[in-house]
Assembly symmetry: C2
Homo-oligomer: 180 residues x 2
């Protein structure tokens, strides 16, 4: 195995919220949930088929325009059970936060290394942009205090924003020290 098929549960979770096509699920990883997992459509479509074989989901066909048929998937009660079981299990593992930049930084031994400052400014710019994007998402999805209808969705966005805020501040701090 290569990991305990989290994507399976993500798909079940997404379908427990509403009916979705494979395309919708693919796109879901472009927004908030994409901060904490990613998947390509080439992984999603075969998995949808497998989950349907296992009777955890079903689909109905829907016509778009004249010809184009899309498959609207929905979760079955068996699927809901499996999803709930996953949610109920302990989550005792904190997996490594895979971050290529941090890996590179690990091998920069001196503040005088000419690669350091460009690396830092590049990352600062990237994370600053991501932070802006996340804040936009937040104000779009949760415009006011009372709109926190979906707690989980709100919390993970909040988490991502805090993460990026701290990340950029950390980078800025190093930049200040290095370029002084």
């Amino acid at each position: 195995m290569a990991q305990r098929n989290q994507l399976k549960y993500i798909i079940l979770g997404l379908l427990s919220e509403k009916k979705l096509t494979g395309y919708d699920i693919t796109k879901a990883f472009d927004s908030d949930i994409g901060e904490f997992w990613s998947a390509n459509h080439s992984q999603i479509y075969p998995l949808l088929k497998r989950l349907e074989d296992d009777a955890l989901i079903t689909h109905e066909l829907e016509l778009v325009g004249e010809k184009l048929e899309k498959k609207l998937y929905s979760i079955t009660s068996a699927g809901k059970t499996v999803l709930r079981e996953w949610l109920s299990e302990p989550t005792p593992e904190i997996s490594a936060t895979k971050d290529e930049f941090i890996l590179k930084l690990y091998f920069i031994h001196s503040a005088d290394d000419p690669l350091l400052l460009p690396m830092l400014t590049e990352q600062h710019q990237l994370h600053q942009a991501k932070l802006t994007h996340l804040k936009n998402q937040m104000s779009r999805k949760f415009p006011d205090e009372t709109s926190q209808n979906n707690l989980g969705h709100f919390l993970i966005l909040q988490h991502a924003i805090q993460r990026e805020t701290r990340y950029t501040a950390w980078l800025q701090d190093i930049i200040d020290k290095v370029s002084r």
Copy 2:
């Protein structure tokens, strides 16, 4: 492919610091660098062989005790070039921070869900323990201000500590709000 073989560069990076065995490299993922990548020995040994075939590393045999031979690997100048090239390249992708707990949280829609509080306290305990562990590592590896001989090593530990500090604070904040 499934990612641009970062492990290759980690191995080159580690070997650029000192000669190591496959076992040493495996163990390296138990300490600081393990916060940002992980690998099993079953992945490391074959890759070492491949890197040696590509002449990026070599090894010498060393005897431990009476019989046990270990392979001490070291980086070649070709390996150093490849490593330096990797470090010099831009790192324009921020990959998703894969976190199973956060995924689960995404699918908890209400503060009244009985699963929520146990999940939060479990994670708080885990991240609190990790934070303590990281702080111990820090005071062991960098006991005083002047001991920051290896900037990269220091910075990524600092980063991990800040990350876990914020993570636990975030969890505590939710726990307070939910259990009120």
